[in-house]
């Protein structure tokens, strides 16, 4: 059969076709693999760059916090002492100096709280639960909404993740303050290996997709990017009041 020239022609031609297809496939797969590897490398570089930026941002914030504590804080304390001295020297001026003195004391406290919220080392030192609790206390003093806060033990997260959770927490609370018009905010945090932070409000809600696509959601995108950097899963469930608004539920959890 194989001595027949027709058979030989058909077989050789078929094998040539097969060989050609094999070459095409192998070339494509190899070229694709190279592209995929390059893409992965680029994504990794992008991630490293973002991480570097965040680290730099944290360092700058820590520096500002130190400056607030060491410089402005000290100056305010000095002012407070001078006012006390003035009141002692001239008791008649005590009444007129009282509002100034009170304001200085309040400013000292605010600078202290601000410094603490800017400095991520505080999280490492005091733990995430304590730091979030302090933020909750700060929110309560503003009397904008009722904060219901419950938590479990300290979550098992690495330092970077704790800083990211804290920054996201701050950003979300700021968003709540600015836009939500809520009466109640319910915050709960699961601890140990089951870290899950849920922040739910009864405010006016918003259209997540529209905000994200309209270019107004820079803060939200920032939150999502931070979560991605910290290998955390972030979800936002909300609907505007026109669509039967149910407030907003923000969830942040560890990717298992």
């Amino acid at each position: 059969m194989f001595s027949n020239p027709i058979v030989l022609t058909v077989l050789v031609a078929t094998l040539m076709m097969l060989l050609l297809i094999a070459v095409v496939i192998i070339t494509m797969v190899l070229s694709n693999r190279r592209n995929v590897q390059q893409e992965v490398k680029m994504a990794q570089m992008h991630l490293d760059h973002e991480k570097g930026l965040r680290l730099l941002q944290d360092e700058v914030m820590a520096e500002v916090a130190r400056e607030l504590h060491d410089n402005i804080g000290q100056r305010l304390t000095f002012m407070k002492l001078q006012l006390q001295q003035q009141k002692a020297v001239n008791p008649a001026s005590a009444v007129s100096l009282l509002p100034v003195s009170d304001m200085v004391v309040e400013t000292i406290e605010e600078v202290r709280v601000l410094g603490r919220s800017l400095n991520s080392d505080v999280i490492e030192k005091n733990g995430l639960v304590y730091t979030l609790e302090k933020e909750v206390e700060r929110m309560r003093t503003l009397n904008k909404f009722e904060v219901h806060w419950e938590h479990d033990k300290e979550p098992e997260l690495i330092k970077d993740q704790k800083v990211i959770v804290f920054r996201i927490f701050q950003e979300t609370l700021n968003n709540l303050l600015k836009y939500a018009e809520a009466k109640n905010v319910y915050i709960s945090m699961g601890g140990g290996s089951n870290f899950k932070l849920v922040m739910k409000d009864d405010g006016k809600g918003f259209d997540v997709e529209q905000v994200m696509s309209s270019g107004k959601g820079a803060g939200l995108k920032n939150i999502l990017k931070r979560a991605e950097l910290g290998k955390l899963k972030c979800s936002i469930d909300s609907a505007p009041s026109a669509q039967g608004g149910k407030g907003t539920t923000f969830t942040l959890e560890k990717i298992v």
Binding site: L18, N32, E39
Partner: protein, 217 residues
Amino acid sequence: MPLLFYFLAGKLFALIVGGYYFKCLTRPYRLVLYLIGIAAISESYGYYIMKNLHEHNIWLFNFYLVAEAWLMGMAAVQLLVVPWLKKVFLMLLVIGSIIWVLNVVRNSIYVFASLSMVYGLILLTVMYLAVLFTNSVFKNKNILVQPVFWLAISTILYCACDIPYMVLHNYLITNAPVLSAKLISINDVLDIVRYPLVAISFILLGRQKQRVLNAAG
């Protein structure tokens, strides 16, 4: 066991998989699924005509040629992302149909439209190569998990490797029927390999869509 069983096994497997993931399949993949159904019916009916009725079944496969060219061709057109290529291939499909009509009118419906078949095979090979190059390579996603890759490869493999034999098909049938009967095993093997590869593309597409649906809701 008759060879028909092996032919049908691959097609039935692809049909079952395609049916299972039917809701997840996009239009081009559904067209391919319909073609597999037509192929299975033609194959069985052709076998029945030949074995039981002892009649020619070539006319059946001549009609199948048109169905294959249009269904596979339209699937490729929908998978293509370059608009001018779509137009060119649509025109070539119409020309293919004209060649088929001329071929049948000239030789009768009872003679295999070999020229039309070869034209179809070349056209489908080029179309699916175009699909492969415009869809997969430049997406920077793993090519082996893309359904379009497996669909295109199955078609290219079948069509391109079948061309040499099909060019000589009518000549061999007339002048060397014994040789032809032996050489047609090339077509048989390609046919058996083709459909499981299509089934892989159905599975990959179905799973991808299911993952998207699960993530959404």
